[in-house]
């Protein structure tokens, strides 16, 4: 029996593409691609740690780009960001399929892999859209608009352009507490940063760091939110469907100040 090869990578998209490169380079038959953090040594397997190499990953991405339209490229990237266990392998099957078929531009929704990937991408897209909606900035003393979030999927990379285009004239920071990194815009460009300031125990800006009036505007927002409700049309089920409880923690209107 041939031992199965497990490729371990650092969790980045470039890392994953480097793995795809290695699969082709070493002609590995049925590999499993997994994040280092998820590795557990198994009997009868060979695990190999793949070091992220941008020249390799760029070559793979370039190849993919010639094969599928940009809408499909986005779907592929989004599905990767879902971080669902085993998504790398579904994506590998899909990428192999792309390279094997001469014309992969049409989308075959009756193919299992494609349907799965497009469904996962849709979930990630939905989460991205939710974050565009549910980010609540708090203005700090040093005039940065700070927001903390805990999205279900790793959607920060998808949010860069949306917030950069929208808040071009203010400094802002969106920090993913779950994944311990954030986006910071300094009026010029967006950087990916990590901070010691936030942790799972300290998930938001303290009141003493608020800018003047910040608390007043939060209160005004709460007042507004409560005044637009029509009591005779109360519909809790619909409310929860749109605004699931797991997001309430960071929504000013759903908390006591």
């Amino acid at each position: 029996m041939n031992p199965q090869t497990i490729l371990l990578y650092d969790g980045s998209f470039d890392g994953f593409l480097t793995c795809v490169f290695t699969v082709y380079e070493q002609k590995i038959g049925t590999p499993i691609i997994r994040k280092e953090s998820e590795s557990n040594n198994q009997l009868f397997t060979i695990s190999e740690t793949i070091i992220t190499d941008e020249t390799k990953s760029n070559r793979v991405w370039k190849g993919i780009k010639t094969k599928i339209p940009s809408s499909q490229q986005k779907i592929l990237f989004k599905a990767f960001l879902s971080e669902i266990k085993g998504v790398e392998n579904t994506l590998l099957c899909y990428i192999k399929n792309i390279f094997d078929t001469p014309n992969a531009t049409l989308i075959d929704y009756s193919n299992k892999d494609i349907l799965k990937i497009s469904q996962v991408a849709k979930m990630v897209g939905r989460e991205k859209h939710r974050m565009e909606a549910f980010v609540r900035f708090q203005r700090t003393k040093d005039d940065i608009f700070v927001s903390t979030i805990e999205p279900d999927f790793n959607v920060l990379p998808l949010l860069i352009y949306h917030f950069k285009d929208r808040y071009a004239d203010q400094k802002w920071l969106i920090y993913d507490i779950k994944r311990s990194y954030g986006l910071y815009y300094d009026l010029d460009k967006v950087d990916i940063i990590t901070l010691d300031f936030f942790s799972k125990l300290n998930t938001s800006v303290q009141k003493e760091n608020y800018a003047d009036n910040e608390l007043d505007f939060q209160k005004l927002w709460q007042t507004y939110f409560n005044s637009v409700n029509i009591k005779s049309r109360k519909n809790s089920k619909l409310h929860l469907q749109h605004l699931p409880k797991r997001y309430w923690k960071y929504l000013i209107e759903k908390n006591e100040i």
Binding site: L106, F134, T223, V228, H239
Partner: protein, 419 residues
Amino acid sequence: MSFERMREKLSILADAAKYDVSCASSGGKRENTNKGIGNNTGMGICHSYTEDGRCVSLLKILLTNHCIFDCAYCVTRKSNDIKRAAFKIQEVVDLTINFYRRNYIEGLFLSSGIFKNSDYTMERLVAVAKKLRLEENFNGYIHLKSIPGTSDELMREAGLYADRLSVNIEIPTISGLKLLAPDKKHEDFIKPMQKVKNEILQYKAERKIIKSTPRYAPAGQSTQMIIGATGESDKDIMYSATYYYKKFNMRRVYYSGYVPVTTDNRLPSLQTEVPILRENRLYQTDWLLRFYGFSVSELLNDQYKNLALDIDPKLSWALRNLDFFPVDINKADKNILARIPGIGMQSVSKILQARKFRKLDWTHLKAIGIALNRAQHFIICNSKDFYHKDITPYTLKNIILKTSKSKHTKYFTNQLSLF
């Protein structure tokens, strides 16, 4: 600015504005090119949801709830004894900008009670929009209410700063309007609509020649009707909606179930429930007209003046036209597929894509996500199992009702138990 006073005003003037249903923030075409604040390029965002399940996407307020009119259905009518308040222009601007910067909202929806006269009021609404655009460099969404009876000149200016303009027709029939809003004239509603429509067309034509022509109300215009205040039929409502869609190129017509706000013998009593289910059926009909290629007379006519409440309008059309079915999923055209109950437009386009690769059977259709409990009775696909053709519409309806679970069941169980 005193925040205590602001809070008080905000609660009064947001409360009075909440019966306007429109909360759309999509369709604007303002890119943030000047390093200003805000970007509005297409998709709308709902930033929060109220406990009644409605989306909060705009700061929806009245400039003032002082009003010279006395429309029976309205909370802010002059004879109603309520607290009155008014915002200053700068206050609305500050509120909008500060909410927007914190990502609470997509923009502003500004309406107003009418004080002094139409033009005086409209001038102030326009001034807010103008200030936001020119002084604050604001590219977010602005929806202004056109005050009935406003002069053409002001309407023209309004459209240059606002993304959407709307006049609420409120009462679908002219006789109803006379009864409930004796001070308002039907022509006063029509005039600003006509003006906006003409301006949009004219600016569009000019843009084709001169690229730098500014856009006029890029998100178009909309209107709203109150449902269930004057005993009008669904046919009355949808025929006048169709009229507004066609005549004024409306982007949207909204239907708002009447929420009893006052005792008046011309209106339903305070205990009347809001007709939420009826509202839902009207919206479904609206969608069928706009996206599914139905014409209004197919769904509502002299024989069928009201929509069925227990089943959706597409299904009830299908039951009346059983000879149209079965439809072959693997062969039928797009517009035919769109008429099958239980299949939405997204499923239609997935079916069209997928059937290029293979003939679809029941499992494929299920995976695509169509509502088979309804659709299965109206289609044939690549399989030998089909429904029986010799069922009467009545039995078929009961079969479907038995297999489906509607969130609205509670509204019509009383009715069914009579039989």
